[in-house]
Amino acid sequence: MTTAVTTDLLRLAPVLTLGLMVVPVAAGLAGTLAPALKNGGAGFAALADWPGLARAVALSLGTGLGSTLLSLLLTIAILAAFAGRPVFDRLRRLIAPLLSVPHAAAALGLAFLIAPSGWIARLISPELTGWQSPPDLLILNDPLGLSLTLGLVAKELPFLLLMALVALPQTGADQRLPVAATLGYGRIAGFVLTTLPALYAQLRLPVYAVLAYAMTTVDMAMILGPTLPPTLSVQVVLWMSEASLASRDIAAAAACLQFALVIAALALWRGAEALAARALTATAFHGRRLTGLDRPTATLALTATAVTAGSLGAGLAGLALWSVAGQWQFPDALPASLTMRHWVDSLPVLADTLSQTLIVGLAATLAALVLTIACLRAESTHHLRPGPRALALLYLPLLVPQIAFLPGLQVLAARTGMQGTLATVALAHLVFVLPYVFLSLCGPWRAWDGRIATAAATMGASESRIFWHLRLPMMAGPVLTAGAVGLAVSVGQYLPTLLIGGGRVETLTTEAVALSSGGNRRLIGAHAMLQLAIPALAFGIALAVPAMLWRNRRQMRGIA
């Protein structure tokens, strides 16, 4: 009886999981569209009259397409120049830490680094510049969105690299690259002509997700992006925070427009893919070996990596320093003294914010892990194999911009009285945590040696015994890693917390972004450090626990 119930629940798991991602997105989109269309589309009319519209649209397209293209080209350059070389292992080790930095923390770090009163200005002042006080320059929040683009690349490059590394072994690169090399092709040409097409086929969805995110990010654009006008997404949030109903209708109309922009950009990208594929085939036909590309590309890739990783690292180090800085006046490169006073003073507030962040994050992550494992179990028990459509649905919350469906979801949450509770916020986070947890865990889970299950079954072990005693313990490392990924995603969420939390749920990220305009760098630093500490701790646990469990199990090491 109990087994029958369990199997039925298992069979439901994939449906439930996909539903948890599809329903909020669909309901939210409907909820956004409705106010935009009412009163004969008054919202759209008012939006059309807004003088900043053209510029906000251009910024959204420009920063989104620019940062995505840059990130993708750098990903290809790094893989082509370094795959299989010793330096690659060192680059590879940078990915996870860079990836686990929440977007807002990364943006705050960069902001401190490049601001007129920031660290770079301090290091070269007054010796090189003669500045005795911060210059009146728009480096940060520059009108072209260059600092926003840099920030986006710093966060997207590690993500695309990781996705590419996961896909690379399935492309047959280890055979194709030597073949190209023995035919006399340079590394770059060989990679692009023989391996990239197969790789890109698997990288397509992540690239689309990156493009949709980059065009519509709110937290990074609030910290690094232009103002007056800001990007369209930021303007949506500004309108939503105004009390009047009219401005809410404009916000809804702008959110719809933003969604249409993303679809248009994706279509444009798709067209460019086709052109690039034709160019590639034509180039391959001419048989030029292009060995001259190798050296400049390698230099470029290494420089770009150093700049992005270095600026992120330096920015975060600066924030850490700020959180313990005593007196730190402008041209000084370092603070005059160090103190823990700000930490002690703000401890009660920080502790409250930290606990809300952790409750929401752990709840969403735990739910995502249970659902993901149930889905994967159903897969093997009922011999289900998710098709490409199910996979696309998994990416749905990553492809449909948050700014397009969260406003509608907020309206629904407010009407049903569910707005502003920790549980609702955790549920909203789950929509975004689930895809990442699933993508992180499904590879190692499916790679498990099925003969172990057969061997155990011939010894009389039941399905549940095989699961609890063999598969789950052997998957301890991957499960903990997926959990750490989920927690990092949840900690980084800004818009869901802001909109669904309705101001009553405050996490480290919403607080840090709210503080960013104020200029209290010590408090910003403290929040950013805690934002970093949670994923770092989670990834630390994901490394330490398997190492401890398997210290006497040689074959288990390296399964993470």
């Binding site: 010894m459 009389g460 040689r554 288990m556």
Partner: protein
């Protein structure tokens, strides 16, 4: 001693192609060898016997063990022990933990279970190996531990899926003798699947192709020839 393993008109088809067609009885203590090149339906046969046949294969006929029809039973209820080409020891458990996993739950008490495990290990020249990490065992030790694990689960018949193929030549004969001796001692019907004529010869029993052709006594030459062709 247990009853015989009966394959009654056991046929497996993949689309229009017949892979397996067998009617045979394996008595307790007897070893029947199914021999053929790879891709000839040997592993399909084992999948059908253990109940792990992938979707797409059509199965007809019956399998009886000791008089019970096991054709449609779940793998865990069939009472068939299985040895793979690799030992497939559970890498997260110790050697003793692997054996404990197989030991039936009705043997109760930590001390009693540990004693059974230790005795089994000692009987195979592996005394004191219980706390060891399976990954630190040599190929021969791993093969013996895998056989012990299979036998501790008290199967009523034994299936061998080319269990000697991965072993070095000198070790192969030794482990083969060890495995066959233990199976005969336990009085089990044994079905051996292999592409190696030496295995078939050492097993000493009937030798058949997956389609039921008798490969003995002319087995040696013919089988060798096929083997080469498969390579």
């Amino acid at each position: 001693m247990t009853g015989p393993l009966d394959l009654q008109s056991l046929c497996i088809d993949l689309g229009p192609r017949r892979l397996v067609d067998l009617t045979l009885t394996i008595r307790a203590g007897e070893i029947v060898t199914i021999m053929g090149p790879s891709g000839a339906g040997k592993s399909t046969l084992l999948g059908a016997l253990t109940g792990t046949l992938p979707a797409g294969f059509a199965l007809s006929g019956r399998v009886r063990l000791d008089g019970t029809d096991i054709t449609d039973l779940p793998t865990r209820s069939r009472g068939l022990g299985l040895l793979f080409q690799d030992a497939v020891l559970f890498p997260h458990l110790s050697v003793g933990g692997n054996l404990g996993f197989a030991l039936p739950a009705r043997i109760r008490g930590r001390a009693e279970r540990q004693a059974r495990i230790d005795a089994a290990l000692a009987s195979a020249g592996l005394a004191g190996f219980a706390p060891r990490d399976p990954a630190t065992l040599s190929g021969g030790q791993r093969a013996r531990a895998a056989l012990l694990r299979t036998l501790l689960a008290e199967p009523r018949a034994l299936l061998l899926d080319e269990p000697f193929a991965r072993l070095d030549a000198d070790l192969r004969a030794q482990i083969r003798r060890f495995t066959f001796d233990r199976a005969r001692q336990a009085g089990l019907p044994v079905l051996l699947v292999t592409h190696d004529p030496e295995d078939a010869e050492a097993a000493g029993g009937p030798v058949l192709s997956p389609l039921g052709e008798n490969l003995r006594p002319a087995a040696k030459g013919a089988a060798r020839h096929r083997d080469r062709a498969a390579d």
